[in-house]
């Protein structure tokens, strides 16, 4: 009998190509997602060294970060040019590279185009028990499907393209156990923000998290993707969910998932992945779902969280002097005063989107709050940016786009949009945004922009009230 193993250990063990005496191992990579920002230098490296892409069939490329989210084709269906020459250059570099190295590519104008972390699971490219990498830290999201997924740098992108492997050291494991039902108006986004608040932005460094307990078992795949996505904001490169019936139901019939007899066989294999009874974690954190309130960030690190009913903290209230200094800087940057109620903070921008919260369930939850209401007159811009063309199509079939546009939102084409200031969607300096994205860093949404991370329903509540509002007071 073998010793009980965690989900992480099972995936790790199954992917060891070569064990090295120094404790590192050459790990096989099953799935490699490529986007336009972190790949050009990797392809260039291959070209200079005269190397090829070892397994184009295990690679999938799509552009998302740079693409403007305004119309991409004209009335006649012709592709519209991208105004920013540097963005256009990065997109054409990707197109030239995928052609030269024969890498499967989802065209910028295809219905399947979208944010790389929305596209992977949606296409059935991400599968349970696989190793998934991408030159992007939110690759952690794919862990929701039971895949060991993590972000890598461009040198590692080149390494995977050339060898389909990475040289890695095993991580420690941390169990995040949450039991019970999330309260009325409380979403998976609020839960993961609260978890990051507890762990701290570096608390998960060196660990792979596994989300366990009834709250996560009862969570939809969309919710799990939101949670796993933000593992990196606690410092953990990956976050895992054991694959279950919900995972299988989500994946069945997807374009790149196994079909027919291979499907049934795969499901049997995936069922054996869950952490064994008695397996040990190196660390653990446990919380009660009932204790979580709708949560917002007040500072410039995702660990700076507070319940919406709370106040802006006094920097002096932190024990650690470095944290005090960081909090003072954050409040200055954010233009906030210690002691003020969070619900009195007014906002000018709303962003519903990003790989954290741009899936159909996110849009439904936001639309539910927005329906029949108008955005507040203080709001200068409110964007809804679906995570993929397929999400967009589904939302339109359900009439969600009209709910948003009638309220005063703009309904955009899929992409990273206002999550990071690489494309035309930016928050102007010193203006404030309630955002469903994952990072409230200094300058993340544009130079000088002030970001409050929230759930889709909370972003909708901020849109219709013009301030950070408690969504529970708006639910009908």
């Amino acid at each position: 009998m073998t010793a009980p193993r965690t989900l992480y250990q099972k995936i790790w063990d199954a992917h060891v190509v070569e064990q090295r005496p120094d404790g590192t191992a050459l790990i096989y990579i099953d799935r490699h997602l490529v986007h336009e920002v972190t790949s050009p230098q990797a392809f260039e490296g291959l070209r200079v060294a005269g190397r090829r892409v070892r397994r184009p069939d295990l690679t999938l490329a799509v552009a998302d970060h740079n693409l403007p989210t305004t119309a991409r084709v004209d009335a006649a269906g012709r592709r519209l040019p991208i105004a920013d020459p540097a963005s256009a250059g990065q997109l054409s570099a990707l197109e030239a590279n995928v052609a030269e190295f024969a890498v499967p590519y989802i065209e910028a104008t295809a219905a399947e185009q979208g944010i790389v972390h929305v596209v992977g699971p949606e296409q059935g490219f991400t599968l349970p028990g696989t190793t998934v990498v991408c030159g992007d830290s939110h690759t952690a999201a794919h862990g929701a499907m039971g895949a060991l997924a993590f972000g890598i740098g461009t040198s590692e992108v080149e390494h995977v393209l050339a060898t389909q492997t990475l040289l890695l050291k095993p991580s420690k494991t941390m169990e995040i156990r949450v039991e019970g039902t999330l309260g009325f108006g409380v979403s998976p986004k609020d839960l993961i923000l609260a978890i990051i608040g507890r762990l701290g932005a570096a608390g998960g460094t060196g660990y792979v998290l596994e989300y366990r307990g009834s709250t996560f078992r009862d969570m939809s795949i969309e919710g799990r993707l939101t949670v796993a996505n933000m593992s990196i904001e606690a410092g953990a490169r990956s976050g895992l969910f054991a694959p279950d019936e919900k995972t299988f139901a989500y994946l069945e019939g997807r374009r790149l998932a196994p079909q027919g007899a291979a499907w049934a066989e795969a499901v049997e294999r995936w069922k054996a992945l869950a952490t064994d009874e008695g397996a040990r974690f190196d660390a653990s954190l446990s919380m009660n779902a009932a204790d979580i309130a709708p949560t917002v960030t007040w500072g410039t690190s995702p660990e700076d969280v507070a319940p919406i009913t709370g106040r802006i903290p006094d920097p002096e209230s932190f024990a650690d002097p470095a944290k005090q200094a960081a909090a003072r800087k954050s409040l200055e940057y954010m233009g906030l005063t210690a002691g003020d109620a969070l619900q009195d903070v007014t906002v000018e921008h709303i962003f519903i989107g990003s790989c954290t919260n741009s899936r159909i369930e996110d849009l439904r939850q936001a639309a539910e709050i927005v329906r029949g209401r108008k955005i507040d007159r203080r709001i200068k811009q409110a964007l809804v940016v679906p995570g993929s063309g397929l999400v967009k199509r589904q939302a339109e079939a359900e009439g969600l786009d009209r709910i948003f546009t009638e309220a005063g939102f703009e309904w955009r084409e899929p992409g990273c949009s206002m999550c990071l200031a690489m494309n035309p969607d930016k928050v102007p300096p010193r203006e404030r945004c309630a955002s469903t994205s994952n990072r409230n860093f200094v300058g993340r949404q544009g130079p000088g922009a002030r970001t409050h991370l929230v759930s889709p329903a909370m972003a909708a509540a901020a849109a219709v009230t013009g301030r950070l509002a408690d969504v529970r007071e708006l639910v009908r």
Binding site: Y28, P40, G151, G153, S155, E156, A162, K169, A326
Partner: protein
């Protein structure tokens, strides 16, 4: 990769916690398709602060940077490591680093030295006046004031840094094992 043995020079005593890769290099500079030339854009938001350390002539060309906890957190952008390398940084000293950043740094010949907060605090104070020496052979950080802090490093990374080795070429030497894995698993 340029081999790394010993680096001596001024160290920028930044000291801040949670310096994320958006701070090291803003997203507006990620549109390049090259590795070089990013140094002048590094730490743009900090450089906008009057009297900042990066524009202080005392630290011009400093090869060492000292920071607080969780340096390099956030985005996986290797542009952060390229920007540091381009501005001449060969060593970053901090109490902790994000996993992705320290991997990226290493692949660009930048050594990340983890030291306890107390040692980092001491070096921050010394660096304001004096140069430091970081020696990878002896795995120590020393100062002219007789400070001597030993650090640890993964032996593989140490060997690669000392020899300036190309990791892809090393892995390609395991081609037979990779093939065997693919055959065994039907991948």
């Amino acid at each position: 990769m340029t081999p790394f043995t010993c680096v001596q020079g001024r160290a920028i005593p930044l000291g801040r916690q949670n310096v994320d890769t958006d701070v090291i290099i803003g997203a507006e500079h990620l549109k390049t398709i090259q590795r070089s030339g990013l140094g002048r854009y590094a730490f743009g938001t900090i450089r906008a602060e009057p009297g900042n350390l990066f524009d202080d002539p005392a630290y011009a060309g400093a090869p060492i940077l000292i920071a607080g906890d969780n340096f390099g957190c956030g985005s996986s952008r290797e542009h952060a490591a390229w920007a540091l390398a381009d501005m001449g940084i060969r060593v970053v000293i901090a109490p902790s680093f994000s996993d992705i950043f320290s991997g990226n740094a290493f692949k660009n010949g930048i050594l990340t030295v983890v030291l306890p907060q107390g040692a980092v605090d001491r070096l921050l104070a010394v660096a304001a006046e004096l140069p430091l020496t970081v020696d990878l052979e002896t795995m120590t950080v020393t100062s002219p004031l007789q400070d001597r802090f030993a650090f640890e490093l993964d032996p593989f990374r140490r060997e690669c840094l000392l020899g300036g080795l190309d990791e892809i070429a090393l892995t390609m030497a395991s081609e037979a094992a990779i093939r065997a894995y693919e055959l065994r698993t039907g991948t």
